[in-house]
Structures are given as C-alpha cells and as structure tokens.
Symmetry: C2
Subunit: 403 residues, 2 copies
C-alpha cells in the first residue's frame, strides 16, 4: 500500500473506532467492543474498507504496548504484596482450571499441542480493565468481593503473562523440554528482575526525577516502555510483557509525575488501532462450518465455567453468593484474550479458525458479565463509592476517552 | 523488516531523538537539530543502526501531520486578519524573492523545471516555530520587529503551503498549464474553504462542543486532523496542508478545551519520528562531489540573501537595523524546508543529491539565526516579556518536551 492509502486507512480506522466506541458506551457496553466490531465489519473479510499492511501490524502492536503500559501503571507492587492469601488463591486457581479445561478440550478434538497451549493460555487471561470498569459502574468497587476480584485479577495478569511468555516462546521452535525450561527461566528471570527491581530503582531515582521535571519523566517512562518492549521481543517474550513491567516500575510514582494524565492522549490515539486492526483479522465465516460453531460454543461455555469453578471454589469461604460474584467478576477475557490470540495468529501457531473462535470467546465473556453481576449485586445495599482505587481511576480516565 | 525488528528500531529512534535533543538544548540549540543529526548519523548511510521500511515512512508522515496540526493550532484566523499591511508585504516579498533566486539558480545549473520548482519552494518556507522560539528565548517577543516577523511568518506559511500544494501536485504529472491552473484552483479552493469556514464552523459548534466535554473535543479535533490530512493527500495536495488547516480551525478554541495541553504528549511521541527518519534520508557523501558542495553553498547563500533582501526591503520603513532584524528573523527554514524536500524525494521529483542539499540548507539557515539575532538585538534594552503570544507559548510547551 502507498503511504497515502495507508494514511486514508488510519483516518478511517480512527474515525470508526471513536464512533463505534461512542455508540457502544451509549448502550452501556464497553467502548472496546465497539472498536472490535468496527474492525470485524469494515475489515477485508466483510466490507473491505480497511486494508492490511506492515504499518497496520506495527500500529496494532504499538496500541497493545501503550495499553499494557497503562495497565502496568495501575499495578503497584505494594498493592500486589498487600493482596491477601485469598486473592492469590483465587487468582492461581482461576488460572489452573481454565487452562486445563481449554487445553483438554483442544486435545480431545485432536488439535496440535501448540494450538492447545494457546487456547488454554487465552482462557487464562482476566481483563482487569473490564472487571474494574464494571464494578465501578455498579458503585460496588469497595465491596469485599470487589477487592478480592481486583487483587486476584492482578495476580492473574502476571501469572497469565508468564504462561503466555512460555507458550509464545516455545511456539517459535520445537517443543523440547529443555527449551521450555530455558524459556520459562528466561521469562521468570526477566519478569522477576524488571518487576522486582524496576519499582525500587524508580523510587531511589526520585530526587533525580524530581529535578528532571514532570515532562521529561513522562518522556523517560515512555522510552523505557518502548525499550523494555523491544527487549522482551528480542528475548522471544511478548513485547507487551516489557510494556507491562515498565508501567509497574512507574506505578508508585504515577501520581507524582502525572504520568497517567499525560499518557491518556497517547492512549486515546494509539490503542484504538490495536482493537480495530485486531477486529479486521476476525473472519466470521469460519462459523459457517458447524464443527467450528460447535467448538466455539464449547470454548465459551468452558471459559465461563472455568473461572466460575476455579475462582468460586477458592472463594468458597466467603459464602455462596459472594463466591459466585468473585467467580463471575473474573470471567471477562477482554483485550488480554485477544492479545494472546493475536500473538498466536501472527506467530503462525493458530490458524484463522481458532483465532476467530478465541476472539469471539473473549468478546462473549466480556459482554455476558455486566448484566449478571448487576443482578447478583441487586439484593444488597450499595456501598458509598469513595476515592476510586487505582484500577478504577485508570479505567475511568481511559474509557472516558472512548467516544 | 519483521514487526519485532521495526519495534526495536522505533525504540532506538525514540531514545536517540530524546538524548540528542536534550544535548542540543544544553548547548543552546533547538532540539530539532539534534533529532535530525541523530538520524543522519545512525541512519543507513553512516552507522546503519536505523533501517528503513514502509512503517518508518508512515510514522514520519504522522509526525509531520501532528507537527503541522500544532502549528495550525497556533495560527488563529483573527490574528491573521489583525496582521497589518507591513507583515503581509514582508511575508509576500519574502516568498517571491527566495523562490525566484532558488528557481533561477537551478535553471542556470541546468536542472529540470520540476526540480527547480521544488528547490524554489523549499527556499520559500519560514519555520514559525524556530523563529518564535528564538525571539522568546531572547526575551524580545514583544518588540515591534518580532510582531512583524511573527505575522509575516504566518502569511508566509500559508502562501508557502499553497505554493507547495501546486508544485507537489504538478510534480505527479506533466507540467501542462491546464493542470497547474486546475491544481492551483483546487489548492486555493481547499485552503479557502477549510481555512475560511473551519474556524467559524467550530465557533458555531461551541454549545455542542461544550456539552461533549474537553476529552471528546480533543478526540474530535484529532479525527478531523487525520481526515483532512487524508483528504488533502487524496486531492494530490500535501497531507500536512490538511493538518495545518485542521489546527487553524480549532486555534480560537484551543485554550477553551486545553487542546494544546492534550496534544503535547502525542507531539512528544510522534514528532521525533519525523525528524529522525528525515535525517536518515540524508546522505552526506553527496558533498564529496565538489559540484554538489558548490551548489549547496550557493543554495545556502541565496536562501539567506533571499529572505534578508525580500523581507528587509519590505520592512525598510522601520529603519535599517529593524529591517535587518526582520529579514534575519525570517531566515530559518527549519522543518518546513525539510518537509518540502521530503515530499520532493518521496514523490521522485528530486534525487538524493538535491534532497541532501535542501536539508543541509534548512539546518544551516536555522543554526545561523540565533547568534546573529542576539547580536543585532544587543544594542537595545530588553522589553519585559509579558503573557507570551500563541506561537511563543506553543514552542515553549512543545520544546520543553524535547529532552
């Protein structure tokens, strides 16, 4: 494609993202779903208004990087440490059960091991953003169930990214045990080193950063985000893991330098490219094949059941209704599931059929949650919403831009 | 290039831009020059750390679009109307003389008419940003000469973009008189329609915009900027003309919706790609050829003489020293000259030799001005700098991000 044609595409993508995002927000749905749908409808598989090129892919990746950087900025290490054993248990159990269900389903249907690993990984992911947004919209962010869900979602995010790092890394070569161990060691080493030291390095550099001024600190943080993303990519990990860790490193000084405030316009510009371009890769015609339709339904049912069971059991001590709320709160896969699917597709491990199925699963689990959570909470009085938590504030600012 | 390799390039480009920009600011030079130099040094022609791909070109173009949008935001139509006859005369005369000199020089040396038109056009451009920045740094922004220079630079910018629109459009086909007239009509029509109606449409929409809220207005402005850029490109005009007109349309409501404040992080992220990638296209080895070196020196001398003469004569009524200050203030070609050269190179009208010469001319005219203006102003007492003008505020905010 010529530079001019790509420019026209970018203008069309941006406009569609904002219009569809706005319409979906009007109908009480996350803007994200509108952006995805715009891609599905106007991409090459249906209307054909949006094309595809190397630049589309790079902007998709840049959007994902900015998105995960923003999520990282909302995940201070101290909050992670403060999360009780229950959140950790819910998070861990919410990873194991869906992964085993997804992997098992795929193996039963005769898929390759690498394909099964990817589907399992996509079913692991919890979208903190969507969950926090729904809880905030319901005015329930301070309820005990919400705290457990938010804490567990963070644990889940990190463990999920670790699983993704191993699976994505192992996908590029043969699946020898030695390679997997090496990759796991590399992934754990990278995450532990950057995740563990990043925040304290930034904290120690505070006098220096203060002298640099807010604007330069933002530039530095953005540079570190790009550098760690490139480094993660060079290590065969997903680039977004580097972006997430860069965000985490600055999470505790987020407010001091107004990093989120400055990131918002960049987010508003780049992140829609991730969702719309992602949508353009979905080919709904795969569901014309009854066996794909059946597999898709099975994946969606197991994705919901996996989190409800895995997380619900770990939260059983809170009582039946609360455990159901916690389990349901963990169901949305949102952008994280789509990220996993996109990495699987672009690395050639999964084909367009599985890609379409995983993306539809991610969207379906995201749409189903708000009405169910609303009715589960209905019997209880509303707690007064006070100062919003980090995650809530983040999604508020970010989503406010959607339209 | 693979997406991973491009990602590494983007991280390298961003880091180099910020480090070189910071170093140049430390030594009292505009950050822009450091960014350009980083591209020249680390591009494929010298060190070879930065590669080239379709994505590099699109990000270069996006950077130019954001840059010209920002310049447009600082060019309210009302200020244009308030500019007296002197500024208009200085601006117009400052376009005719350098254009004739540049075109004449090229024709004398036996160049093609289309090449001569491009070099002439590149010599027309005045970089409002650099000029305003230098005057602000000297604390002289409120002096009468500065007001004339800023007003003339705005006139110059619009007429220059119009010349560019005609030259760039005519470059794509044969140079028939009918085509040129049609293109000029198209360019003038587009500029007059969007430039003339844009601001009043935005003004009339104020009640609606107020209800939308600041964040959505920013998104809308960005969308209009992309759409008008794509539209200008589709009309065979330079995309940046659309971006500039979009900025102008929102210039009067700039402060009401904090548009500049929100644009700054996007600017800080994308504009460096324009300058660094532009730098990577410069091949300094063209100056190893003595005839190129000679031509380059001639272009630089005429570029300086053209503005000094053209603008100085039109400002002669202000006295000799003031006229020299005005003429000198109009000398920097900065990013606008480079934009013209880049459009000429990518459209295939000028080759790498002329491209290198025009870029070096743009940089040289930008570097030479600050020390000369400083010594010209030295004999006079400093006026107290009050509330900065639009252009000054803009460069302050924007350049503050350079390091």
């Amino acid at each position: 494609m010529s530079t001019e044609a790509i420019l026209v595409d970018l203008a069309v993508i941006f406009a569609l993202a904002k219009v569809f995002g706005y319409l979906f927000e009007r109908f009480g749905q996350p803007a994200v779903i509108g952006e995805l749908l715009a891609g599905v409808l106007f991409g090459p598989h249906l209307v054909g208004l949006i094309g595809h090129s190397e630049t589309h892919e790079v902007l998709q990746e840049l959007g994902a990087i900015v998105l995960l950087f923003a999520v990282g900025l909302d995940t201070p290490l101290s909050e992670l440490k403060a999360v009780g054993g229950r959140s950790a248990a819910v998070g861990a159990s919410g990873i194991v059960v869906p992964f085993v269900l997804g992997f098992g389903l795929m193996k039963v249907t005769g898929a390759e091991t690498s394909e099964a690993l990817f589907v399992g990984t996509a079913m692991v992911a919890t979208s903190v953003g969507v969950t926090a947004r729904v809880l905030a919209d319901l005015g329930r962010i301070r309820e005990p169930e919400s705290r457990v869900v938010l804490g567990a979602a963070v644990v889940d995010d990190i463990l999920g990214l670790l699983v993704l790092a191993v699976v994505a890394g192992s996908a590029t070569g043969d699946l020898s045990i030695g390679d997997v161990v090496l990759l796991a060691a590399l992934a754990i080493g990278f995450v532990a080193l950057v995740g563990g030291l990043g925040a304290s390095l930034v904290k120690r550099a505070t006098p220096l950063l203060d002298r640099m001024g807010e604007v330069r600190v933002f530039t530095l943080a953005l540079g570190i985000c790009l550098a760690l993303s490139a480094a993660a990519g060079a290590l065969n990990l997903a680039a977004i893991i580097g972006a997430f860790l860069a965000g985490m490193a600055f999470a505790e000084t987020r407010d001091r330098y107004k990093l989120e405030e400055r990131l918002t316009p960049v987010y508003s510009f780049l992140v829609p490219f991730f969702f719309v371009v992602t949508g353009t890769l979905v080919d709904l015609s795969v569901f014309a094949d009854p066996s794909n339709l059946l597999l898709g339904l099975a994946v969606i049912v197991l994705a919901i059941a996996g989190k409800l069971l895995g997380c619900g059991v770990a939260a059983a001590g809170m009582g039946r209704r609360s455990a159901t709320i916690v389990g349901m709160g963990m169901v949305p896969r949102g952008e994280v599931g789509i990220l996993v699917a996109t990495i699987g597709l672009t690395s050639g491990v999964i084909g367009p059929n599985l890609y379409g199925i995983v993306v539809v699963m991610s969207v379906a689990t995201t749409i189903v949650v708000p009405p169910v959570l609303t009715s589960l909470f209905k019997a209880r009085p509303v707690a007064t919403p006070a100062r919003p938590s980090g995650a809530e504030r983040h999604t508020h600012e970010i989503e406010g831009i959607g339209g």
